[in-house]
């Protein structure tokens, strides 16, 4: 594949333009791509590998370690905390609500470990925003409003 000229390479290259070309920028680089594109595609990771000079196997190895990078093409992840303290306060209802509203939408409902919001349980993390003491209604609305372009 002629990576250097591919459209993905151009996009990633523009995103990383001002980042120093060094290994220590790998995590910030992956974040930029994931936030802008919604997920990390194979081609995008190849491009990151070329641009930062990190072997592609290691880019995949790092990216796959982190749960927040497990988004897939056309499926925006939303997170419902189902850990102990939220489970005590009705997390299952939130998950059911999220799954219902995700039907026929490009959304993947994921269970999350403790989000550090147990004083406001049950909590969810949708579109980069925390929902505190969330009701199934609020989760429904938030899932419907998730951006996916």
């Amino acid at each position: 594949m002629d990576t250097q000229n591919s459209a993905v390479y151009q996009v990633v290259s523009a995103l990383l333009e001002d980042l120093p070309r060094e290994r220590a920028q790998l995590l910030p680089a992956l974040w930029r791509v994931a936030e802008s594109e919604g997920y990390l595609s194979q081609d995008a990771m190849e491009a990151v590998s070329k641009i930062l000079g990190v072997p592609s196997a290691e880019v995949f190895g790092v990216a796959s370690f982190y749960s927040l990078f497990e988004g897939e093409e056309g499926r925006v992840p939303v997170y419902i905390c189902t850990d102990v303290m939220c489970a005590l306060q009705g997390a299952q209802n939130l998950k059911d609500a999220a799954e219902k509203s995700a039907v026929n939408r490009p959304i993947a409902v994921k269970e999350s470990a403790c989000l550090g919001q147990c004083d406001h349980a049950p909590a969810a993390w949708i579109g980069g925003k925390v929902l505190r003491r969330a009701s199934p209604e609020e989760v429904k609305t938030a899932v419907t409003e998730v951006r996916h372009d």
Partner: protein
């Protein structure tokens, strides 16, 4: 029994959390000015005299750590604020950073000065996106008044991406360096070989906030609260079956029962109103039964009598209807998923515990679990594997906590 506010800003404070006025109002400007006029060894001596211990879980004496980093050979040194906060039931660093981010940051600037570091990192968990924005604004404020920058210390935020293990100090270094966040074998310790092999001081958010309030005042002021063994105050995070969940600041030595019951603190047990158990210190913490809750103080010597520690300061409250077998199974799954898999005792051990939990045999296979737990404690590389069996074993030691229906 009242709540203290030293690490947390006074209620009704007028200035914005990231404003220049806040620096003055909270005494952080004074704290940094005072520290900058002191020699590094005088700063470290003051931190040692204050008796501050790490608030991230291990309670290592902070002054000792600073002197180790300061004495370690190496021209390049780093300081790191650990804001990864991913322990079950733990949210005190989030509340601290939301309400008063300039405190921990002032502590970070003082720490850099004391150990001779020109570069600092704040590592914050990816799910704390809104908190990260507050932190960034606070760093900008310090930059504007010249306390952060090329002539003092550069501060950079690093965002985690959803990995509990990345909060372990050496895994966190690997994460910053662009490697997989797997813990390193210790020794060498971070004080000698941390980020890029250089001496590195890593502290919890709350520890750094303690440093800031110490230098805003003095050792005598600092020691006015707390015990002889552990001076100062502690943030506790109350959640679960409690009327007033939230973060409260209390002196070390406060009776655990008061934290749960005082009207201005926990405000008493919710749910059925009858206490079943408290899980103290996070997923790697200890279960206390109702009698132990009545008879212990929030301090290391008192808690060690019942085999417990303060850990992160999480206090998860369960009423008498909660089936702890369910809680233990959930926690077993968490550890099995979050183990980085590098070493055998932890990779296999966390799986075995989960299998036993899922097969419903937790309470009948106590001997096997104890032996497994011992092996994990003895042979795991890092704190995750070493402490993953602790909460489970503490429950097995208290068979009265078993739920029968």
């Amino acid at each position: 029994m009242t709540e203290i506010r030293r690490l947390l800003p006074e209620t009704g404070i007028m200035s914005g959390p990231t404003s220049v006025e806040r620096l003055t109002e909270r005494g952080f400007e004074r704290a940094m000015a005072r520290a900058m006029l002191m020699t590094p060894s005088d700063i470290i001596a003051e931190v040692s005299q204050s008796g501050i211990k790490g608030r991230g879980g291990a309670a290592f004496p902070t002054g000792l750590k600073w002197s180790m980093v300061s004495q370690a050979p190496g021209a390049q040194k780093y300081v790191v604020m650990n804001a990864d906060e991913s322990e079950l039931g733990t949210f005190k660093d989030r509340v601290l950073l939301e309400q008063d981010p300039l405190g921990p940051l002032s502590g970070l600037v003082i720490a850099a000065h004391a150990v001779g570091a020109r570069k600092a990192f704040c590592y914050i968990r990816g799910e704390y996106r809104e908190v990260e924005q507050v932190l960034a604004a606070a760093i900008e404020t310090l930059r504007r008044v010249g306390l952060v920058g090329p002539d003092t210390v550069e501060v950079e935020i690093r965002r985690g991406a959803g990995a509990y293990i990345a909060g372990e100090e050496t895994a966190l270094f690997n994460s910053i360096e662009g490697m997989r966040p797997e813990p390193r074998v210790k020794p060498p310790f971070p004080t000698n070989k941390g980020l890029w092999g250089s001496p590195t001081l890593i502290q919890n958010v709350e520890t750094l906030a303690n440093v800031a309030v110490l230098f805003a005042h003095d050792v005598e002021w600092f020691k006015a609260y707390g015990t002889k063994d552990t001076p100062g105050t502690k943030l506790v995070a109350l959640s679960g079956h409690i009327h007033r969940p939230g973060v409260y600041e209390v002196p070390f030595g406060t009776p655990v029962a008061d934290i749960l019951n005082a009207p201005e603190l926990g405000g008493s047990v919710a749910g059925t109103g009858r206490l079943g158990a408290v899980l103290l210190g996070g997923a790697a913490g200890t279960f206390l039964n109702a009698a132990e809750v009545q008879n212990t103080l929030l301090d290391y010597p008192s808690l060690s009598k019942v085999g417990a520690s303060i850990g992160s300061g999480a206090m998860m409250v369960f009423d008498d209807t909660v089936d702890l077998t369910w809680v233990l199974t959930k926690m077993a799954r968490f550890f099995a998923e979050e183990s980085c898999g590098q070493c055998v005792p932890c990779r296999i051990g966390t799986r075995r515990i989960l299998e036993i939990a899922e097969s419903g045999n937790l309470w009948s296979r106590t001997q096997d679990l104890r032996e497994l737990g011992q092996a994990m404690r003895d042979a795991s590389i890092c704190g995750l594997g070493q402490t993953a069996p602790l909460a489970l074993l503490s429950a097995l030691d208290r068979p009265e906590l078993r739920h029968h229906d």
